[in-house]
């Protein structure tokens, strides 16, 4: 018990004193996951939109494919991408393995199904009249598309938060693809894994606290946003 207290005390000290190594790790986490979300969102939204608004052969198959992908474990995603990105793999020439880009790719792969599936659900529930009304009022298809996005913004934001929550806390794919390189690809979850394996619980706890705080914040936002979404309709 005293060991736990001691480690917690040290963790607080690390957080408050602005320990550089610690904040570097946190910065990397946010940078990588932020980029992944930024890159993944536009195409994911488009696919979600296509699934909700277009009728084309194979649509149902795609819908169920994306909801199946939701449940693929991160480690499997990591392994698959590792084999693809390894120098021996088909994408080895991109030289991405053990870089931040590889982590971004891995997190995109993890975020994408969530964004598509939840985005699809949100857009599906949107009123078809939104698109029609915008079009009859002279909006270009592009403007009408953004109108639909605007009208479903709370549902889409919920998808975004859920996806972000998954990738910021994910350890398996980041560890495999990034290699846990200090000051480069060591993010919060991989650092926690490493520090615990080294018996350095203080830093593990400090980082864990950040993740917990983040999880609570994201969840709170999610509830708020979903509540908003319900209110709107």
């Amino acid at each position: 018990m005293s060991a736990l207290l001691e480690a917690t005390e040290k963790a607080l000290e690390l957080l408050i004193s602005g320990d550089e190594a610690l904040w570097q790790i946190i910065a990397i986490s946010f940078k990588v996951s932020g980029s992944a979300i930024l890159i993944a969102t536009p195409p994911a939204l488009l696919i979600a939109f296509a699934l909700a608004y277009l009728r084309f052969p194979g649509r149902r198959v795609l819908v169920s494919l994306f909801s199946t992908l939701l449940s693929v474990p991160a480690v499997v995603v990591g392994l698959t991408l590792y084999l693809l990105l390894s120098n021996r793999g088909p994408l080895g020439d991109w030289r991405l393995l053990f870089t931040q880009s590889a982590m971004v790719v891995g997190q995109i792969a993890l975020a994408f199904p969530i964004l598509v599936a939840m985005g699809h659900a949100a857009l599906q529930s949107a009123d078809k009249r939104a698109w029609e009304t915008a079009r009859t009022l002279g909006a270009s298809p592009l403007r009408a598309f953004f109108v639909v996005i605007r009208e479903t913004r709370f549902g889409l934001l919920a998808a975004l938060l859920a996806a972000y929550g998954r990738i910021i806390a994910e350890v398996g794919a980041s560890m495999m693809l990034g290699g846990n390189i200090l000051n480069y690809t060591r993010n919060i979850p991989t650092a926690i894994a490493l520090e615990t394996s080294k018996g350095e619980f203080a830093q593990g706890i400090a980082l864990g606290a950040i993740l917990l705080l983040l999880a609570f914040t994201l969840n709170g936002l999610l509830h708020y946003v979903q509540g908003k979404g319900v209110q709107m309709s």
Partner: protein, 285 residues
């Protein structure tokens, strides 16, 4: 213009954006100043590399990305050309790696030794054994819990060869493979009151936090040499071979060796520099 048109339009825009991104990634992807070093958890977790590498980075201008895994995985990464240089401790596997042409040449860097650690009360009575084979046989006879790395690391390989030398086939409830790094395995052994084989470096780093003691040490069989090998550029032309050689030259050169000797943990020297004069001479321009 309907959904379909707009979809095609936006999608092609995105493809263009993505390919531009891919291009910029390819451009910035691998600056030649980065050296990717695959090494064992023992060198990284002990803090040795963090004590050495900043000096190398400062004098050479290179940046070293350390990927700490088991020896087996490190060699595999070298074989696949996913890293530029490997620093490992599994002599047999290293020689095979070089012989098969994946690496150019193995250079001796340093050594430390393995120690057998176990619960303070030494339930198998290992303390005072004649040699390491004797100690291992006693553990097996008492069916005292033993945690194996079980991860194809250098330490794991060493442990397996020692069981073989002892003439014991380790199997049964008492023998457990953890599949984890050294530090984790020490923690598990501590929690379960088990014996395990560890490199001295990790042991020194952890001993304070563990209820374990050294049960046996000092047998020459427990000698643990580290070798550094640059990945063969003929096989993988993209590797940063110049960087790898610069790192090797520094590690086995005067500054690297002095700093290895000077590195201490809890007041104890962990690694003994072990560069061979003839190998150093090979690298002189």
């Amino acid at each position: 213009m309907s959904y379909r048109h707009i979809f095609v339009r936006i999608f092609s825009l995105l493809l263009i954006a993505l390919s531009a991104l891919q291009f910029s990634v390819a451009q910035a992807g691998e600056p030649q100043q980065v050296i990717r070093l695959a090494t064992t958890t023992s060198t990284d977790n002990s803090g040795l590399l963090q004590a050495l590498l900043p000096h190398f980075e400062k004098s050479s201008g290179y940046k070293v990305h350390v990927i700490a895994v088991g020896t087996g995985k490190a060699l595999r990464m070298g074989r696949d050309g996913d890293v530029d240089v490997v620093l490992v401790h599994a002599r047999k596997a290293e020689d095979k790696f070089v012989k098969e042409g994946f690496g150019e040449r193995r250079f001796s860097v340093m050594y430390n030794d393995f120690v057998l650690v176990g619960p303070a009360d030494d339930p198998a009575g290992v303390r005072g054994s004649r040699d390491v084979g004797d100690a291992f046989r006693k553990i097996a006879r008492h069916k005292a819990p033993f945690i194996s790395r079980g991860d194809d690391s250098g330490t794991h390989k060493k442990e397996l060869s020692l069981w073989k030398k002892a003439g014991v086939k380790p199997e049964g409830q008492w023998y457990r493979e953890a599949g984890q790094g050294m530090g984790k395995v020490l923690q598990i052994a501590g929690e379960l009151g088990a014996y395990t084989l560890t490199d001295r470096g990790t042991w020194l780093a952890y001993q304070e936090k563990l209820p374990l003691r050294i049960a046996f040490e000092g047998d020459p069989l427990l000698f643990n040499p580290y070798g550094i090998i640059a990945v063969n550029p003929k096989l993988h032309p993209h590797v940063n071979h110049d960087g790898a050689m610069a790192l090797i030259r520094w590690m086995i050169g005067k500054e690297g060796q002095t700093r290895i000797a000077a590195f201490t943990l809890h007041g104890q020297q962990l690694f003994k520099p072990d560069a061979k004069a003839d190998e150093v001479a090979l690298l002189k321009p």
